[in-house]
C-alpha cells in the first residue's frame, strides 16, 4: 500500500509541477511531455520498488482459488492491483511520449499532461484502496479527469457531446455507488473491505446492487455501455488508448474486488459475469460490424473484448477455477497492449491525413507504411490470429472454459467462438482497406515521415507484442508464477 501511496503522490505532485511549469514558463509541448514521461517513469519505479523477489509478486492468487479474500492487514489481491496499476502507468508513459507530437494540433498542453497524470493517479488509488469511501473518491477523481480528457477537443461539437454523455452516465454510476455505500454503512457501520454485507439485510443487499450497477456503468457492461462508443471515439486517440486499454478494465477489476470484498459468493458473481460476458460479446461484435468510423469500430471491439475478459473471470469464479482467472488477467494485459497500439496507430493516420472513416483509410499503407503495419498487427492480434499473442490469450480462455465441461461454460464458449468468427468480419476488411491498391482521396497527398515521437511508442508496443508472440513463456512466467497448476504437478 505504501508503494501505491507514494506512486499516487508522485503522479499528483508531478501533475501540479507540470501545470505550474506550463503556466509560468509557457513551456513547449515536447518539454512538458518529457517531464510527464519522467513522472510516469518515477511513479512506476516507486510502485515496483518494493519488489520482493520471491516468485509470488505479481498475481498472488493461491491455487485454492481463495481470491482476494480477507487477510488481516493486507489483501492478497494487492499484487493483482499492482499489475493493473503497472499497466496503466506503462500506458501513460507511452501515451505521453506519443502526445508530444500528437497534441501539436490542439495547443492546450498545459491542461492535458496534468489531467493525464491525474487520471492515472486516480486509477492507481482506485485499484489499491480497500476503503469504500476512499474508493468513491478515487473513482470520482479518475472519472472527472477522464470526462475532461474525452471532451478535450472542445472546439468540436461531437467531442463535447461525448464528454457530456460520459459525464452524465458516469455521474449516475458514482451516485449509485455513493447511495449503495450509504446504505451499507447504515447497516454495518463499516466502510472498510472485506465486509460481510451481502446477506445481512435487505438494505445492504440493495446497497450492494447499487454499488455493483454503478461500477458496471463505469466498466461498460452491456446494456450500460452506451456512453463508451462515443467517449472512446471522440476523445483524442492518445486518450482513447488509455480509456480502452486500461480504464474500463480497471473499473471492472474494482467491480470484482468490491463484489468479493462485500461478501458476494463467487458462484453468484461468476454466473452474473458469464451472462454479462455473453451480452458483451454479442453486442460488441455485432455493433462493430456496422460501424463506419474506425474509432467507433475499435470502441465496440473493446466492448466485445471486455466480454472475453469477463467470460474468463466468470468461468474462474463460477467453477472455482484459478486457471481461468489468470487467463483473464493475462488477456486483460494483452488487450491493453493490442488495443492501445490500435488507437495510437490510428491516431498517426488521423494526425497526418485526417482520416476518421474506414473509407478514408483506403490505401493509407502507401503513405504511412509504419502506421498501417502496426494497426494491422494490432487488429490481427485482436482478431486472435495465431501466432500473435492475442491468440495465445484466447487459447488460455478456451482451454479453461472447455475443461470445465459444464453447460453454462459450453454455452459461453459457443458464443465466444461464434462472435470471434464474426469479429473477423470487421477486422479483416479494415486491414484490407489499409492495403487497398486504389487510394481514396489522399492520392495526391505527399508521403510524410512520421515523427519519431509518435513512431517510438508504436514501435515499442509492436516489438513487445511480437516478442511476446514469438516466445510467450518468459512473459507469462513473469506475469504469474502459477498460471497453470499443472506445472507444479
Amino acid at each position: 500500500m505504501n508503494t501505491a501511496f507514494n506512486s499516487i503522490l508522485i503522479l499528483a505532485c508531478g501533475a501540479l509541477a507540470i501545470y505550474l511549469l506550463a503556466r509560468l514558463f509557457s513551456a513547449r509541448n515536447e518539454l512538458l511531455a518529457c517531464c510527464t514521461v519522467l513522472v510516469f517513469f518515477l511513479a512506476g519505479l516507486v510502485l515496483f520498488s518494493k519488489l520482493n523477489l520471491n516468485s509470488k509478486f505479481w498475481l498472488e492468487i493461491p491455487s485454492s482459488g481463495e481470491f482476494m479474500v480477507s487477510g488481516e492487514q493486507e489483501w492478497p489481491g494487492e499484487s493483482a492491483s499492482r499489475l493493473i496499476a503497472g499497466t496503466a502507468i506503462a500506458l501513460g508513459f507511452l501515451v505521453s511520449l506519443y502526445s508530444s507530437r500528437y497534441l501539436e494540433q490542439d495547443q492546450r498542453y498545459k491542461t492535458y499532461y496534468p489531467l493525464l497524470l491525474l487520471t492515472v493517479a486516480g486509477l492507481v488509488g482506485m485499484v489499491y484502496t480497500t476503503d469504500l469511501f476512499l474508493l468513491y473518491l478515487f473513482i470520482e477523481w479518475m472519472s472527472v479527469c477522464a470526462y475532461v480528457l474525452v471532451a478535450f477537443r472542445r472546439q468540436t461539437n461531437t467531442a463535447t457531446e461525448a464528454g457530456f454523455k460520459y459525464l452524465i452516465m458516469g455521474s449516475v454510476g458514482t451516485i449509485l455507488f455513493l447511495l449503495g455505500l450509504a446504505w451499507i454503512f447504515r447497516v454495518t457501520g463499516q466502510i472498510k473491505m472485506p465486509l460481510q454485507a451481502a446477506e445481512t439485510s435487505a438494505w445492504a443487499s440493495a446497497g450492494l446492487v447499487c454499488i455493483l450497477t454503478g461500477l458496471g456503468i463505469k466498466s461498460a457492461f452491456v446494456p450500460l455501455h452506451t456512453w463508451l462508443p462515443d467517449a472512446h471515439s471522440r476523445a483524442p486517440s492518445s486518450i482513447s488508448a488509455l480509456l480502452s486499454g486500461i480504464i474500463i478494465q480497471s473499473c471492472f477489476f474494482v467491480w470484482l474486488r468490491v463484489g468479493l470484498g462485500l461478501g458476494v459468493s463467487k458462484q453468484v458473481l461468476g454466473a452474473v459475469l458469464i451472462w454479462l460476458s455473453i451480452a458483451n460479446m454479442i453486442v460488441g461484435n455485432f455493433m462493430a460490424l456496422v460501424q463506419i468510423h474506425v474509432k467507433r469500430l475499435l470502441a465496440f471491439s473493446s466492448i466485445a473484448q471486455m466480454g472475453y475478459i469477463l467470460f474468463s473471470f466468470g468461468i474462474g469464479l463460477y467453477f472455482d477455477f484459478p486457471q481461468a482467472i489468470l487467463a483473464g488477467f493475462l488477456y486483460l494485459v494483452i488487450h491493453a497492449a493490442l488495443k492501445s497500439l490500435a488507437f495510437l496507430s490510428k491516431g498517426i493516420c488521423h494526425f497526418y491525413y485526417q482520416t476518421t472513416l474506414i473509407e478514408d483509410m483506403r490505401g493509407i499503407a502507401k503513405h504511412l507504411p509504419l502506421a498501417a503495419l502496426t494497426l494491422s498487427l494490432s487488429l490481427a492480434g485482436l482478431a486472435g490470429l495465431p501466432p500473435l499473442i492475442g491468440f495465445s490469450g484466447k487459447w488460455f480462455i478456451l482451454t479453461s472454459a472447455l475443461s470445465t465441461l459444464q453447460p453454462l461454460a459450453l454455452v459461453g464458449t459457443g458464443v465466444f467462438l461464434l462472435t470471434n468468427l464474426i469479429s473477423l468480419g470487421y477486422y479483416l476488411p479494415l486491414i484490407a482497406q489499409l492495403y487497398a491498391s486504389q487510394p481514396h482521396r489522399n492520392e495526391a497527398a505527399p508521403t510524410l515521415r512520421i515523427s519519431p515521437w509518435m513512431a517510438i511508442p508504436v514501435i515499442a508496443l509492436s516489438g513487445l507484442i511480437l516478442a511476446a508472440s514469438i516466445y510467450p513463456a518468459p512473459w507469462v512466467k513473469w506475469l504469474s508464477p502459477i498460471i497453470f497448476i499443472s506445472e507444479g504437478g
Partner: protein, 489 residues
C-alpha cells in the same frame, strides 16, 4: 542438432527467412524475387527427398523445444511416414507453382511480397504436416489460411476479390474453430500438447470421442471442401491468381485429409470411429457426384477445374470412410496423384487463358492446332482425372473402389464407380470444347512464356510416370498405414 533435425528445421526456416529477406531488402533483390523463391522451393523439395532415405532407415527426425512450459505447450517438429506423402506433395506443388509464377506473374513493385507470401503459404502447409504438437499445428494451420487469403485479396483477378477473400477466410476459419475446439479437448484430456502423448492413450468417454471426431470431420471437411462445406472453394479458386490456385487446389485441400488421418484416425481406434464410416462414405459419394455435375454445368474453365476438386475430394473422403486398408491407402495415394494432376490441369487452363484471354468455354474451341503442346498436356490431365488406366489416378481410384467393396456397403462402391462416369463426362467435355472443333476467334494467340510451359510438360510426364510405376510411391503409403493402423486392423 544433427543432420535429420537440421533438414526438417530448414524446411520451415529456410523459406521463412528467404521470405523475410525478400520483403526487407526488396529494393536490392526485388528483380530476382521469383528466381530466389523458386530456388528456395527447389531446395525445400530436395530437403524433403533427402529425408526419404532416413525414414527408410527407421529414423524419425524429432525436434522438441519448450515454448510455453506453464501451459505444457511445446514446439515440436516431427516427421514420420504419415507426414511424408503430404509434405512431399506440398513441396512438389510449391516448386511447380513457383516456376509457373515466373511466367504468369507480371512483375511490379509488389512482386517481392507476392513471392514471399507464396513461400509463407508453403511454410504454413509444410509446418502443418511437420508439427508435432497441437498448438503448433494450429498456428501453421492458420498461417496457411492467412497467407493464402492475403494472396487472393491482393492479387485476386476480378472485381470482387475483396469479398471473395473475406468469404474464404470466414468460411474456412469456421472450420478451423471447430478443429480448435476438438484440439483443445484432446489437449485437456492428454494434459500435454504433443502428438506422442495423444497417441499413447488418452481415455475419453464415448460421447466425447464422438463429439471430437465429429468436430474434426466437419472442420477438416471445410478445408477439403466436400459438399456441402465447399461453398468457399469455387470462388476462391477462380479468383486467385493461377499459381495460388494451383497451391490451393493441389496441396492445401489435402491438408484436410492429413488432419483427418492425423487426428481422429490415428488417435482413436477403428471401433471408436466406426459409426462415422457410413456418413463419410455417403458424403464422399454425394460430393463426387455433386462436384462432377457442377463441373458439367459450369461455363468458366477455371471454375470447372475448381468443381472437379470438390468431386475429387469426394473420392478421397469415400476412401477414408471405408476404414479399410485399401480405402485409406487409395485415399492417400489419391492425394499425391490428385495434387499432380490438378496442378497440371490448372496449368493447362492458365496457358489457355493466357494465350486466348478468354475464360468462357463457349468462346473457346479449335485450339488443338494452335497450341499442340498444351493440348497434349491437357489430354494427359483430363484422361488421368477421368481415371484411364496407365495414368496416375487410375491406381488410386482402383484402391478406393476396392476398399469400398470390402465394407458392408458394396452398393455405395458401385454407385461410386458409376458416379465416376460423370467425371469422364466433364473431363472430356472440357477437352473437346477447348481443343476440338473450329477455331472461331479471329485474333491471333498471345505467345506464352516458357516458364509456364515447362512445368506443365514436366507434370504431364510425372503423371505418366506415376501411372506406369506406382510402386515407389505406394511403398510410402504402405509404411504410413502401418503407422496409423498399428496392427489394429
Amino acid at each position: 542438432m544433427n543432420y535429420e533435425t537440421g533438414l526438417i528445421l530448414s524446411i520451415i526456416l529456410l523459406p521463412s527467412v528467404i521470405a523475410l529477406l525478400l520483403v526487407m531488402i526488396r529494393r536490392i533483390i526485388g528483380p530476382y524475387a521469383g528466381w530466389i523463391a523458386g530456388i528456395t522451393a527447389g531446395l525445400n523439395l530436395l530437403a524433403t527427398l533427402a529425408l526419404l532415405p532416413l525414414l527408410r532407415q527407421g529414423i524419425e527426425p524429432h525436434i522438441a523445444l519448450n515454448w510455453l512450459p506453464q501451459a505444457g505447450i511445446q514446439f515440436i517438429l516431427h516427421l514420420d511416414w504419415l507426414t511424408f506423402p503430404f509434405l512431399f506433395t506440398e513441396a512438389l506443388v510449391t516448386v511447380f507453382a513457383l516456376i509457373y509464377a515466373l511466367g504468369y506473374h507480371h512483375p511490379d513493385e509488389r512482386t517481392p511480397f507476392f513471392y514471399a507470401l507464396l513461400l509463407i503459404f508453403g511454410v504454413g502447409m509444410a509446418g502443418t504436416t511437420l508439427a508435432g504438437s497441437v498448438f503448433l499445428f494450429y498456428v501453421f494451420w492458420e498461417l496457411m489460411l492467412v497467407a493464402s487469403c492475403v494472396l487472393i485479396l491482393a492479387w485476386g483477378e476480378g472485381p470482387n476479390n475483396g469479398s471473395v477473400a473475406l468469404q474464404y477466410f470466414l468460411f474456412t476459419h469456421l472450420g478451423s474453430l471447430l478443429v480448435l475446439v476438438a484440439l483443445i479437448n484432446l489437449y485437456d484430456a492428454a494434459g500435454s500438447d504433443s502428438f506422442v502423448a495423444l497417441r499413447s492413450g488418452i481415455s475419453l468417454a464415448p460421447a466425447a470421442v464422438t463429439t471430437i471426431t465429429a468436430l474434426f470431420l466437419i472442420g477438416f471437411g471445410v478445408k477439403m471442401a466436400v459438399f456441402p462445406l465447399h461453398i468457399w472453394l469455387p470462388d476462391a479458386h477462380s479468383v486467385a491468381p493461377m499459381p495460388v490456385t494451383i497451391m490451393l487446389a493441389a496441396a492445401m485441400l489435402s491438408m484436410g485429409v492429413y488432419g483427418i488421418l492425423r487426428f481422429p484416425m490415428s488417435i482413436f481406434s477403428p471401433s471408436q470411429i466406426a459409426m462415422f464410416a457410413l456418413p463419410m462414405m455417403v458424403a464422399g459419394l454425394v460430393s463426387q457426384v455433386y462436384g462432377a455435375l457442377m463441373a458439367i454445368a459450369e461455363q468458366d474453365i477455371k471454375r470447372i477445374i475448381a468443381y472437379s476438386s470438390v468431386s475429387q475430394m469426394g473420392y478421397i473422403l469415400f476412401g477414408l470412410g471405408t476404414l479399410t486398408y485399401e480405402g485409406i491407402a487409395g485415399a492417400t495415394l489419391h492425394v499425391i496423384y490428385h495434387g499432380v494432376v490438378k496442378a497440371l490441369l490448372f496449368m493447362c487452363m492458365g496457358l489457355v487463358i493466357r494465350a486466348t484471354n478468354k475464360r468462357q468455354i463457349s468462346e473457346l474451341g479449335g485450339l488443338m492446332n494452335k497450341i499442340p503442346l498444351t493440348a497434349a498436356c491437357c489430354a494427359v490431365g483430363v484422361l488421368a482425372i477421368a481415371g484411364v488406366p496407365m495414368l496416375a489416378i487410375f491406381n488410386s481410384e482402383w484402391m478406393i473402389y476396392s476398399g469400398g467393396f470390402h465394407t458392408t456397403y458394396p452398393g455405395l462402391a458401385v454407385a461410386m464407380v458409376l458416379g465416376s462416369l460423370l467425371t469422364v463426362a466433364y473431363a472430356l467435355r472440357l477437352f473437346m470444347e477447348i481443343f476440338w472443333g473450329d477455331y472461331t476467334s479471329d485474333g491471333n494467340l498471345i505467345p506464352v512464356s516458357a516458364a509456364m510451359r515447362l512445368p506443365t510438360v514436366v507434370l504431364a510426364g510425372l503423371t505418366l510416370l506415376a501411372g506406369l510405376f506406382p510402386s515407389p510411391v505406394f511403398a510410402w503409403i504402405d509404411q504410413e498405414l502401418t503407422l496409423i493402423l498399428g496392427g489394429l486392423w
